[in-house]
């Protein structure tokens, strides 16, 4: 397809204050009215957004050395354990980590009021965080125990590194069983009591660049209210998932690993969540700019909720036990209308991802770019796409001693 502009030309327009930016929601109307070609000629960049729970998130911290020095091998932040199996005062705090004393699901359904994600929100909010760290002590790192407190601004580095964010599509969860179930897709009432989904649909970043033509390693983006980058493909990246006629996948597909400096992020866009009966997780705001390099990109960005489908799955049996049982596909337009029909029954829908938040992120990114505060990057390398031959593998299960398949 003929290229109509380059990233460098877009950046020159950003510097000159002449760039034309629209959100992925706004271009839908423009393309309907003017057609793809005219819209592609008029608009340089389309902004996207998503604001949903993303469990695979966390932060690397370097706490600096106390006097005497310590080689931390166990660390707790506000009582929540962080991973300390890296260098002396480096730790990684994961969003779903829970205090050892949390009753978890022993009081079913557990409340999970405070986990790693909540510590991250408190850190970003500038609150004082308690550190309790211990070590076995070495000649070079003699200190064995430290209790102290710190604020985000007082430590060397805090790097948000999220191994899997911005899922390209996701399941719609229902419950075919006889009693409430408590899942990462929220509370699911029995006998198809509700259907929960979790994607911004037409505003979601990877629905607007379904073949990963412009989003690659090094793409600069909105992350948690600040600036971040694509570090790698996300875990469970599955770009080979079956696609519909518009090119967007009908099932969970591509994912992104994102990285950014936590110190310039905002608590509004990194929110600690407590999923009843499931656990703690982080709601992450992500927005990605799509450069309209050719007309094809504009037609991708004009995708509407009516054209994006998601699979309905039973989370009482089919999902947890990996049994087959696809209950059909449903469009995001239907999901957002408030009810869908599953097996002949009208089922109310609810979202876990905030569409209002996604819209605000896309608007904010648009303002940053139009205001000259945010330039686009060319990817340093492409991500594995639909033609990379990737297929998702289950965990191997065999007798680790006998090497025999069970």
């Amino acid at each position: 397809m003929k290229q109509i502009r380059t990233i460098e030309e877009i950046n020159e327009k950003i510097r000159a204050g002449k760039v034309v930016v629209m959100t992925a929601e706004e271009v839908i109307g423009l393309v309907e009215e003017k057609g793809v070609n005219e819209a592609a000629a008029a608009v340089d960049v389309v902004t996207t957004g998503t604001f949903g729970p993303m469990c695979s998130s966390g932060v690397f911290l370097n706490l600096g050395h106390p006097q005497p020095r310590i080689k931390i091998n166990e660390a707790y932040l506000n009582g929540v354990p962080a991973y300390a199996g890296i260098a002396a005062v480096d730790i990684y705090l994961g969003a779903t980590a829970l205090p050892p004393r949390d009753p978890a699901n022993r009081n079913y359904p557990g409340e999970f009021v405070y986990g790693g994600a909540h510590v991250i929100e408190d850190l970003v909010a500038g609150k004082e965080i308690r550190l309790d760290a211990s070590s076995y002590g070495t000649d070079c790192y003699p200190l064995k125990r430290i209790k102290t407190s710190f604020r985000l601004a007082e430590i060397n580095e805090a790097t948000l590194y999220n191994p899997r964010n911005a899922y390209q599509n996701y399941n719609v969860a229902v419950n075919l069983g006889q009693k409430n179930i408590y899942t990462y897709m929220g509370i699911l009432k029995p006998n198809l009591g509700n259907a929960n989904y979790s994607s911004a649909g037409q505003l979601s970043p990877l629905f607007n660049d379904p073949y990963l033509k412009t989003i690659g390693i090094g793409t600069r983006l909105f992350l948690g209210g600040g600036i971040g980058y694509v570090a790698w493909n996300g875990t469970q990246h599955n770009p080979s998932a079956e696609r519909g006629s518009t090119g967007v996948p009908n099932y969970p597909a591509a994912t992104l690993a994102l990285v950014g400096d936590l110190k310039q992020m905002k608590p509004r866009w990194l929110r600690g969540l407590s999923y009843l009966g499931y656990g703690a997780t982080l709601q992450v705001g992500v927005g990605i700019p799509i450069p309209i390099l050719d007309e094809g990109m504009m037609s991708h960005c004009a995708i509407r909720d009516e054209e994006i489908m998601a699979p309905i799955l039973d989370y009482q049996r089919a999902y947890p036990y990996r049994e087959s049982g696809n209950l059909g596909l449903v469009s995001y337009a239907d999901l957002k209308s408030g009810s869908i029909t599953v097996s002949g029954k009208k089922v109310p829908t609810a979202s876990l991802s905030s569409y209002a938040g996604a819209r605000e992120i896309a608007e904010t990114l648009k303002e940053w770019i139009s205001g000259g505060d945010f330039e686009l990057t060319s990817p340093a390398a492409s991500l594995p796409a639909h033609d990379a031959g990737i297929s998702l593998k289950p965990m191997p299960q065999r007798d680790p001693d006998g090497q025999e398949d069970q």
Binding site: G52, N196, R271, S274, L276, S337, P348, A350, S351, L352
Partner: protein, 141 residues
């Protein structure tokens, strides 16, 4: 005519008294009980809608206060902390009365206090913990 939703909190020694009977018999009020429970400290809580004449309603309030009951406006029982709400919508399929509902096409969530029956299901269903209850509220009428 007046129609009010209120919450009565009973100290342990009053729990056994036939309060509702008196409200109907002595004050000619219509009583619609929305919810009743007794907490581990043996304090009772009764949420109800009262309707009747203004003067009877006021006299009934006076009488209940004399009996040692704490009277709280139902509308102040459940608080929606708007700044904590992310407008995800997870609560909208849990709330049984539609007090928490989506506004379309804005896709924002709204809390219609007057529809709330203080079932408290939203408190733990909201992942962002944006719903709060004033369990030990001193907001007596």
């Amino acid at each position: 005519m007046i129609k009010q939703k209120i919450v009565l909190r009973f100290p342990p020694h009053v729990v056994e008294q036939p309060t509702i009977y008196h409200l109907i018999k002595d004050y000619d009020l219509m009583v619609n009980i929305l919810r009743a429970d007794i907490n581990p400290r043996k304090e009772g809580r009764l949420m109800m809608e009262l309707s009747g004449s203004e003067s009877n309603y006021q006299r009934a309030l006076e009488w209940m206060k004399e009996q040692g009951l704490k009277i709280i406006s139902l509308e102040q029982q459940i608080i929606w902390q708007q700044d904590r709400c992310t407008h995800c919508g997870a609560c909208t399929v849990i709330c049984p009365t539609g007090a928490l509902c989506f506004t379309r096409p804005e896709m924002t969530v709204r809390f219609a206090e007057e529809k709330c029956v203080v079932c408290e299901l939203c408190l733990r269903a909201c992942p962002a913990r944006a719903m709060e209850t004033l369990v030990d509220s001193e907001n007596s009428l």
